[in-house]
């Protein structure tokens, strides 16, 4: 069943860190969201305790990040989740593409042995930014997928609808975000709540296509920064999706 959550990097940026996962989960549950993308754990005991806490609060997560790549994979598998982020060392845009794909394939082979899918988060300024790069990567790394960021591909001038049409089964999770290019010469970007930037419509259209195509995973709102009140902006993002007729959105009942 389609679930909506928060990829909470932007909340960490706003607050300066994640200080108390229980408070965060309670806050976002009140908005009607079902969880966060990552359970962040420092040890296997910490992972277990936090996973139980999510469950107790009626919330979920889709992957786990530990202090190393191997522990992240092991704990994600142990907790019964489906994918991990691909983190093959440098993801800098200057990294040689062939080297990048060799490393991704090594990563993906290990993930597959553990029963996991893995996906790269396409992002402006990283090795996987443009549509062409995303498609080349998906062809070169058949065991790897995408933590597919609709806003970021929009910022890079790509067509997210086309990616969904061609690579639906490679999508591990979906990120929605909006932004405004405030200075086209320098490429300066400011992130916004959904519907408050230049990419609201394409987020909504792509999400509609995902739902129509039978996508049945997590959709995370991922504001990378907030301008005023994070929870209010997250609420505005959800309202924007609902105003667009996405009544299929299954929101967690408020406690």
């Amino acid at each position: 069943m389609l679930k909506f959550g928060v990829a909470d990097y932007g909340l960490n940026v706003h607050d300066g860190g994640l200080y108390d996962i229980e408070t965060r989960l309670r806050d976002i549950k009140k908005l009607g969201l079902s969880g966060t993308e990552r359970l962040e754990a420092a040890s296997p005991s910490d992972a277990m305790w936090k996973a139980a806490l999510y469950r107790k609060l009626g919330m979920g997560f889709s992957t786990c990040r530990g202090p190393s790549v191997q522990s992240g994979m092991e704990w994600t598998a142990g907790l019964g989740k489906k994918y991990v982020w691909i983190t093959p060392g440098s993801l800098d845009s200057k990294l040689d593409f062939d080297t990048f794909t060799i490393r991704v394939n090594a990563f993906a082979a290990v993930a597959a042995k553990r029963g996991l899918q893995c996906g790269i988060h396409n992002h402006v300024g990283s090795r996987l930014e443009t549509q062409d790069e995303i498609e080349r990567y998906l062809e070169a790394c058949p065991q790897a997928g995408l933590v597919f960021d609709i806003g970021e591909i929009g910022l890079a001038g790509g067509n997210p609808v086309e990616i969904v049409k061609k690579y639906l089964n490679r999508i591990c999770a979906v990120h929605l975000k909006d932004a405004e290019i405030t200075d086209r010469k320098s490429g300066k970007i400011e992130y916004r709540a959904l519907g408050s930037g230049e990419f609201g419509v394409i987020n909504r259209k792509t999400l509609e296509l995902l739902i129509k195509s039978g996508y049945d995973g997590w959709v995370f709102i991922e504001p990378e920064d907030f301008r005023f009140n994070p929870l209010e902006e997250l609420s505005n993002s959800l309202d924007y999706l609902k105003r667009g007729g996405l009544s299929i959105i299954n929101l967690t009942k408020q406690s």
Partner: protein
Amino acid sequence: MKFGVADYGMNVWYGGLYDIEERLLDLKKLGFNGTERLEAVSPADALYKAALYRKLGMDFSTCRGPSVQVTTEWTAALDKKYVWLTPGQNDRDIDFKVFCRRCNAMIKSCARWGVTASIHNHMGQRVENQKELEDFLKACPDAGIVFDTGHLSMAGGDPVEIVKKYHQRISVMHLKDVFLTGGTRPDGIKEYRFCELGAGNNGFSNTKVIEMLLKVGWDGWIHIEHDVHLRDPLKDLAVSLKFVKNVIGK
């Protein structure tokens, strides 16, 4: 549906569980998907064993730790749906109302973690026969069932009727057959042992139970549970799995 082994009988035969990886590899070769319980002594042990199950392409349906509370917490963390009800004393001497009161307390605690606490009907225990099981389900409306066909059959009940009436309460199935060994115990019960599916002789067959599960659309774990083996357990388990899959048509 998934097919697993409630491996108590294997532990009896071998004297214990010495290496879960070896056991899972053995069961996988037979075509099983896992064991009922992941047994863990710490949260780290639970998590690494869960990862091992996954790596081997195997699974489990609940977790048991060294206390009721951690069992519930770890089962919740590992995203499983039920735990066994273990509210202290569970023999024939415990007052039924006291037993149900304790069960309801445990059920309520488990529900806070999103987990269903489920009763295992069992010969010689508080919930043994059909009337007791039905009375229990009324007295504990949020309890699930770790439903054991062999035990209910030996207690004179009708497992098919239980599946028909209470399939929405069944957390997991335990299938076993009953072999009457001749003679009668001092308490008047016929001497018996449990055996591989299809080898029973008490007039009960799991075929109709499986057919009823299919009819009502039940879709969970079916665990084979031989409490007693008289030969290599893997041989008995292979026979039982073949029996189930033949009925299901897989």
